[in-house]
Each structure stands twice: as C-alpha cells, then as structure tokens.
Subunit: 138 residues, 4 copies
C-alpha cells in the first residue's frame, strides 16, 4: 500500500490561547493534504468540477487528538484511502510531529461525489478511482 | 432533559468557493455553542483555568453533514451532554436551519479535564459536573 | 450623524498563542459588522447580487491596534460611513472593549461596487446610497 | 536590496462564496511570509520570546487588493523591510500570481518589540536589527 505524505509547519494563526494548534485546524490540515494529494496525482478540485461536473462535498469528519502541536512544529500528515465506495471515498489521516515521530492526531474525511447540477450523489469517475486504488489501506 | 440552544448567522468568511459553509467551521460553531453554554451556566474557560487550574482540551471531534448551509442562513445549534465520565465530557450538537428546521449537521466533541500544571487528566470539578447533569441526554 | 453598533464576544478560536485576538480577526469583525449593518438596513450581500447584479469586493483594508482583546471579552464595533464615491464606499470601524470603553482597534474597509458579469466597477445603486447617507461621518 | 520570497498555494478554505481568496487571508499570508523570513534568518517568534523576552505584536496592518486570487493559484509573496525604527519594524509585502506575474495585492505590517513582562515597547535587539538591514528597501 502506498501513502501520500506532506509537511505542514504550524503558523501563529493556527494556535489558540492554550498555545497549541486549535482542534478545528486539523481538519484544515487534512483537507490541505487531500488537495496536495490530488495535485500530486495530476488534478485538483476545480479540474474535477470542470471535467466531470462533480463537487466533492464532505459528509463526515472525525479526529482524535493525542498530543498537542505547537507554533513552528513541523507536522507530517500521511493520507491513505480507507474505503472506496461507488459514490464516496474515505480518506484516513495520521499527523506526526516530524521531529519526534510522535502521533499528534488521527482522523478521517468521507467525501461524496456529487453532481454540480443536481446536487445528487453520482458515481466517482473511473479515472479518479483508478488513481486512488494504490493508496487503499489493507 | 434540558438542552441549550444558540443562534449563529453564517458570515461571508464562513463560506468557501462551493458557496456553502466550509466543513471545518461547524467545529467552530460547536465550540462557540459550548462557550455560550458555559457563559449561560455562569462561568467560562478562563474562570475554570483560574479557579480549578484545569484546561478543557478536546480529545475527539466528529461531524456528519446532512445539508449545506449558505451565507446569511441563521443556524440554531443545540447542545446536550452525551456522557459525563470522571475526567471527560462528551457534548452532542445538532445544527438546524432556523428558517426550515432541517437538520444541517450533527456531531460531538469530547473534552477532558486536564491539569494546567501537569497536563494530566484530572477529575472534573464537582461544581461543574452538577451544572452539566440537567443537560444529560437519556 | 448616525452610527451602527454591534457586539462580538471573543471566542477561543479568535485567540492565538499570545493569548490575545489574532490581528487578522479584526478584519473579520469589521466585515461581520458590515453584514449586520446591511441586515439592519434591510438587505444583505446575496440580495444585492441578485437584485442589482453587483458584488462588493474589498479594495483596501486597514487597521491600527491599540490594546489587546482577550478571550471572552465583549467587543463593541461601531461602523460609520467615511466616504461615498460614485463606485466605492469607505466604512470606518472603531472597536471598543464593552466593559472598559477603551478603544481596542480602529480601521477601515473600502469596498467597490462591481458588476458580477463583467467584473468592472459600476455605480452603487441609488437605493443603497440613500440608505448609507445618514451614517456618513462629518 | 535583498528581498525574501515564498510561495503559497491557495487552499479551499482560503476562498469564500465569491470564489476568491477572502480579503482577511492576505494578512495571514503576510504573517506566514514573515514567519518563513525569520525561519530563513535562523530564528522564530518563540525563540525571540525565550532569548530576548520580547513579543512582536502588530500595531498596524494594511492591504490593497488589485486582482482576485482563486483556489489552487500559486502566490508568490515578497517581503522587504520598509522601515526600521528603534522599537518597531515595518514590513512591506507584494503578492503576485506566480503563473501570470500579475500583482494581486500589496500591503504592510508594522510590528513593535514589546517586553513580554511589562508589555511596554522596548528596543529591538541589535542582533535582529543587523539581520533585517540587508532587506531594507531604498
């Protein structure tokens, strides 16, 4: 199984008054990783909309927080594909502190393939499914 | 069972290029509701820190998205207490479109009581537990 | 001269590791105040788009920070109209700590009236100009 | 005169319902660039606090918006030092669309050197001033 990894340095605005990354920002890190994953596979949200007429709205989001992340920490976010259904994909994320290798957070995002016109769930384009398959976790 | 409700009007910055509220912002709406709930019970995060020497870090966050929310929609967020453990509380949230009463999103936040000094989980102060109990869902 | 005032309670996510409101969030407070001002005048961004076919993109933003704002502080944001040009409006903002009446920040936003179709600057609809005039500062 | 440049790819959450980057996010891009600039010079906010006992709070922020930036655009942010005073530094920023070289936005941040203990403005440490000088614009 392949996985996709990217690095994110914690910026000042990511932190809150507890001097750690605000919990909601991990979801932004997940999505940024998903964007870079697509970029790496050779496409992006906008191209998917234009080419296939579909959006990828999120229908479920989950995160467990293990350790705090602080300003300027370098986080390594690892994405794998947990499940590919006909009309939905579940992405799994692991966030590690790059310096210590400790797991900071783990979570997932489930996205559906939705027609931009009707808003209804539609099949994920074959071309995209094929690119996701190598990243499917066991 | 009591519940706590608050209204949040969707602002422009809450939306994204799909012209709906960005999924990560629902976690901010959850936390804002939790803050107003505490406010309503007569305390706030800062006072808890000062009085009891504890933070309330989040250890788990979850959300299911049912319908999109748009700019200027008035959302009614309802909080109930799902579970009170010795050192943790699980808050449940339901987000409805105030105008249509449709459920927009549902989710939860699990927060632990952590010593500000040691960082370790500690018992939730009795005084707080007593105030939360009436909001415990069946 | 009339002014429009609204209250904003500082939420946890508004703060950063210096335990004060992140400077960029004041611009979000300005815009939220502008939205509530329009709401109060009986319209909103979306209705302006639909009725007049115009957006109100920001062309300039400025803020001076005088005092820090902290978690749970109640801020009073006051909006007045600094200037009405044919195709642009400059809004002035004063942010006070509600409890102490101290000025926290002062700034402005200049917005233009832009055709949604062409993207070009166009005259602000007369109907809107008339509603803004009473708020014009001397 | 030297300048510091960094690249920022626009993420989905940076955009708003007008399908462009929300104006407030340019201030976050400015600060991120400042952080990477310090990183490049061999220090960061936290180290300045620990070593010199000073924060760098922002006292003024300004931005002019020339062209919209869209999802997935690669922005090149260029930082130069506009002014070095005894207790304050003014950073100038130019944001260009990397692909077209068009100027998207221009602005500045003025930061002061403030004692963490007293909160009062203090001299910028000599060591930092020396590192900033080569980036001073004419």
């Amino acid at each position: 199984m392949a996985s996709f990894k990217t690095l994110i340095r914690v910026t000042w605005v990511d932190t809150d008054a507890a001097q750690v990354v605000h919990f909601s920002n991990f979801f932004r890190f997940f999505e940024k990783t998903e964007e870079e994953f697509y970029q790496n596979l050779g496409f992006n949200f906008d191209q998917i909309v234009r080419k296939h007429g579909i959006w990828l709205p999120r229908v479920e989001a989950h995160c467990q927080y293990k350790k705090p992340a602080k300003f300027n920490d370098v986080l390594e976010v690892e994405l794998t594909v947990g499940k590919i259904l006909e009309k939905a994909v579940k992405y799994l994320f692991k966030v590690r502190n790059k310096a210590t290798a400790e797991i900071i957070a783990e979570g997932y995002l489930t996205v559906v393939s939705a027609s931009k016109q009707s808003g209804k769930a539609v099949k994920i384009p074959k071309e995209i499914v094929n690119k996701l398959k190598p990243f499917l976790s066991a």
